[in-house]
Symmetry: C2
Subunit: 535 residues, 2 copies
Amino acid sequence: MDFWPRFNQQFLRYTDLGISLDVSKMGFPEGYLKSKAADCQRAADYMRELEAGEEKNVDEGRMVGHYWLRDVSRAPERDAGGQPVRSYIDDCREAIASFAEEIHGEGKFTHVLLIGIGGSALGPQLVADALGQPDDKMRVAFLDNTDPDGFERVLGQLPLASTLTLVISKSGGTKETANGMKTAQAAYAAQGLSFAGHAVAVTGVDSALDRVARGEEGDDEGRAWLRRFAMTNWVGGRTSVTSVVGLLPMALQGLDFRAFLDGAKAMDARTRGADPAENAAMMMALMWHHAGGGTGKRDMVILPYKDRLALMAKYLQQLIMESLGKARDLDGTAVEQGIAVYGNKGSTDQHAYVQQLRDGVDNFFATFIEVRENFGNGRRGESESGDYLQGFLRGTRRALADKGRPSMTLSLARIDAYTLGALIALYERAVGIYAVLVNINAYDQPGVEAGKKAAEAFICFLHQCRKRLEDASGEKVRAVDVHAGIEDYVSAKGDSQSPTIEDVYHALVHMAHNDAGVIQEWGSFPEEDTFAYQG
Amino acid sequence: MDFWPRFNQQFLRYTDLGISLDVSKMGFPEGYLKSKAADCQRAADYMRELEAGEEKNVDEGRMVGHYWLRDVSRAPERDAGGQPVRSYIDDCREAIASFAEEIHGEGKFTHVLLIGIGGSALGPQLVADALGQPDDKMRVAFLDNTDPDGFERVLGQLPLASTLTLVISKSGGTKETANGMKTAQAAYAAQGLSFAGHAVAVTGVDSALDRVARGEEGDDEGRAWLRRFAMTNWVGGRTSVTSVVGLLPMALQGLDFRAFLDGAKAMDARTRGADPAENAAMMMALMWHHAGGGTGKRDMVILPYKDRLALMAKYLQQLIMESLGKARDLDGTAVEQGIAVYGNKGSTDQHAYVQQLRDGVDNFFATFIEVRENFGNGRRGESESGDYLQGFLRGTRRALADKGRPSMTLSLARIDAYTLGALIALYERAVGIYAVLVNINAYDQPGVEAGKKAAEAFICFLHQCRKRLEDASGEKVRAVDVHAGIEDYVSAKGDSQSPTIEDVYHALVHMAHNDAGVIQEWGSFPEEDTFAYQG
C-alpha cells in the first residue's frame, strides 16, 4: 500500500525550527480533523484567554503564566495579586545572567548541587542531561528524594568547598527538599564550611525557605545566603523549566538559556491557531484524543532515539500525568481522566519491551522522537552507528504499523537549547489543549495532598510509638499493645488520618531496622511479633 | 475498617531472607486463592519440569536454565546439545572469580566499559547502581545503544588506558553492540592503545564475536583478546543477570557475586511449591492475574522507595514485557498478551504522576518496594529523612487504597547482593508462573525480529540512495526520482521489506543532515523537496 500521498498530507513541518510531526501512522479516519474543527476552535480560544491572563487554574484561583516567560510582550503588566509580571520576568532573566557571570568569574565554584523534587528537579535534570558537554562551566548534581542513603551517595561525590547549592521549593514546605537541605547543611558543616556561604534559594517571597535564606531562621541564623531568586504563583512546578527553576541551573552550567527561551517562544508562536494542519500541538492533542478515545484508554509510549533524550519520558510523565490525571472535569462530573506515559530510549528499548508493543497487549500508541543529526554541537558527519539508529527507528515504526499499532513521529534536526525549548513548549501546549478537549483543569494537583497528609500523620505517630516503646523500658510489646497505648492520640485524629494497628506495626518494624537498640522478635504472624528496647 | 486481621493473613514473609510481600490491598475476594488451587498446581508442575530440563522454550527448541546457575546440584549433567551444564557453571564461576582477582591484582585497570544492549546491559546496570559503593574496585560504564553522540559522551569520560572493555553479545550479531565495539576500538586506536589488549568477550562459542576475540577476524587480526567467556543457549538475555553476563561485571566492580547467587538460590527454594500462602512468586503471579484479568488490563506501576532501586522498573520492563508480551498462546491461539510496566522511584514519583494514580485513569496496580534500613552497607542509624521516606510510602499506599486503587508491597530489609539476588529471582519466577497461568511461552521474543529486519533493509537501501545521489552528480532530485532509480533494487525485495518512497525520503533527509555536501531544499510538501550533492 502506498502511504506516500497520505504522508505528504499528514506531515506537519516547521522548517525554520527544525521540527516536524508525522501522524500518518496514527490511523485516524478521513474527515476526522474536520469533524473536530469546533473543538479545535474552542481549545484555541481557551488558550488565548489563558495567555491573556484569565485565571484558568480555577481550583487554585491562579493565572497560568508560563507562556509569558518566553515572550514578555504578551504578559500582563501585573498578576491577579497586583504584583508586576513583565518587570519580574525581565529582572529575573538579568539577575540569572549576571549571577552566573559572577560565579563563573570568581572561579570558586565548579559544581552545582540542585536540591528539589518534581517540577523543581525533572526539568533541570532533562536539560542538564540533554545539553551537557564535557567543557560545561559547572557540573550539576541533584538531591531529588528523601532517601538518606541516596543523599550520602550524591554528597559523597561532590567537592563541597567548590559546590554551589541551589534549594528550590516554592513554599519551602516540601519535606523531601527540606530534608535534603538539612542533610546538605550537615555535610557542609562537617567539613567546616558555611552552608549559607554556598547556598542559593529559589522560592516564593516570604516563604519559610525565603526566611531561612534571609538569615532570619534556621541553623545558619543571622547569616544570609549568597542569593535569593523569587518564584511566582502563576508558574506551576511542572511547567517551570522556562522559569528561574530551569534557567538558573542552565546558566550556571554554561548553557544558552536565551536560546532555550527563543525556541520555546518560536514554538508558542506556531501553536496558537485552531487549524491542526498548521498547529503541531493541536495535532498532537487530537491524536492523543483519538488514540485513547478521550479517556486515556491507550498508554503513551515515548521512544526518543537519542541517548540525550533518555529522560524525556520521565519529564513527560509529570507534565502529562499530573496535568491530565484528574478525578473531576470542570463541571464537577466524575471522570477519572489521564494518559499513562512511559518509555526510555531507542533503539535500546527495542531490546526490552518492543516485543510487547508489537505482539502483545494493544493498549498504547507510540511517539517516536527522532534526532536527525548524528552528533551534537552542530558537528556534521556520517556515522555507520547513526545510520543504524535511523534504520532502527524506521524499522520499528514500520513493524508497529504492519501490526496496526498506532505511532506518531516527531523529528528534530538536532538537540540544542533552541530545539529543546521548542520541544518542551510543544508538549506544554499539547497538554493544555488536550485538557480543553476533555474539559479538565490541567493546572492543579489535588490528588497529591492525601499522600502527603497521610505521611505527616505517619511521622507524628511514629514519634508516639518511639515514646511508647521507651516507656515500656525493655518490656516486649506487640503492635496491638502500642496501638492501645496511643489510644488518646488515635482517637484525637480524624478517621482518615487515624493510625491503624497495621500502621503502628510498620512504624515498629521501621524502628527495629534503624533505631539503636530496638529488637524485633518474629512470631508466626505480625500480630505475634514483639518489639523492645534492648538494655 | 479494620484491615489488621486481613493484613496478618495476607502478609507472606521470609524472615531469613529479609523479604516480605503484603497483598492485603490488592482487593481480591475471599476464596480467590482457593479457587486457583488447580492453576497453582499446574504452574508448580510446569516450573518443576522446566527446572528438570524439559525444553520449555518450545519455539526455539531450548532448555530454560537460569535457575541452575544458582544451584548446580539441580542442573542436568548435559544440555540438549550434549554440552556439559554442571561443569560449565562451576568452571564459569571459578573463571570469573580468578579473572577478577587477577585484574584487581595487576592494578592496571580502574574502569570497566560494558558494551551490550537489552539483557546484556539492563541487569548489569541495575546491579552496578543498586550495589555500587565509593570504594568499589572498579567503576562500570555502559554503551547500550547505537547513538554516535552517546558513544562519544561515554568514551570521552573514560581513561581508556586503564579501562577494561567487556563486549557482551551471544550471537555477536547484535548491531548496536557491534557498532559500540567498533567505536570503542577506534577510540582506543586513536590513543595508540591496542583494543585486543583491553578487551574481553562474553559470547557464544564460535560466534562471530568469539572469532574476533580469538584474533581470527576483525581489525585486530592475529591478536587475541585478554579473555573470552562462553554464553550458553539455555540462558535467555533477560534472565542472564545470574550468568556470566551479570556476574563478571559484578566481580570486577568488587561486589559479592556469590552472595548474589545465594540470595537467588534461597528465593528459588522458597518459590517452588503450589501454595501461594507460602510461595511469594505464586502469590505475585496470581495478583497480577487478578488485577489485569489475565489479559494485562492494568499496567504494573513499580514504586521502589529507594534511590538505589531507581532502575528496577526499567529492568522489570524487559523481564516482564518481553516475556509476557506475546501474540499467540502455546496452542497457537491469537491472544495479544502482556503487562505494561513503568515506574521510577518514590517518593520522587509522588511529585510526578501519583496525582494520576490516585485521581485519574483506573488502569494500573502499584507495587511498592520498601527498603527497611535507612542506610546501606549494614550501617544502622535513625534518620529523619528515612522516617519521611517510610512515611511517604505508607501514606501513598493508604491514599491509593482509600480510592480503591490496588497495590501490593514488597518489603526488603536492606539492599545488598544477597537481597537483590533474591528479589530478582522472585520476579523471574513470578513471570514464569504467570506465563503458565495465561498459557504462553515466556522465553522467546519473535516480535523483535521484524524491526531488526526492517532496519537492515533501511541500511541497504540507504546505501543505494547514497549511490543514486552520487550518480546524479550535483543534479537536484526528489525522493520519487531516487525511488524510481533504485527500482531494480526495490522490486528484488519481498513486499514486506521493499522500501517505499517515504522510506527513501527519510534516507535522503538523513543524508542531508549528516553526509558531507548533501543539500536539501524544502518545497511545500516532502514530495517537492529536492536533494543534491553540492560540488
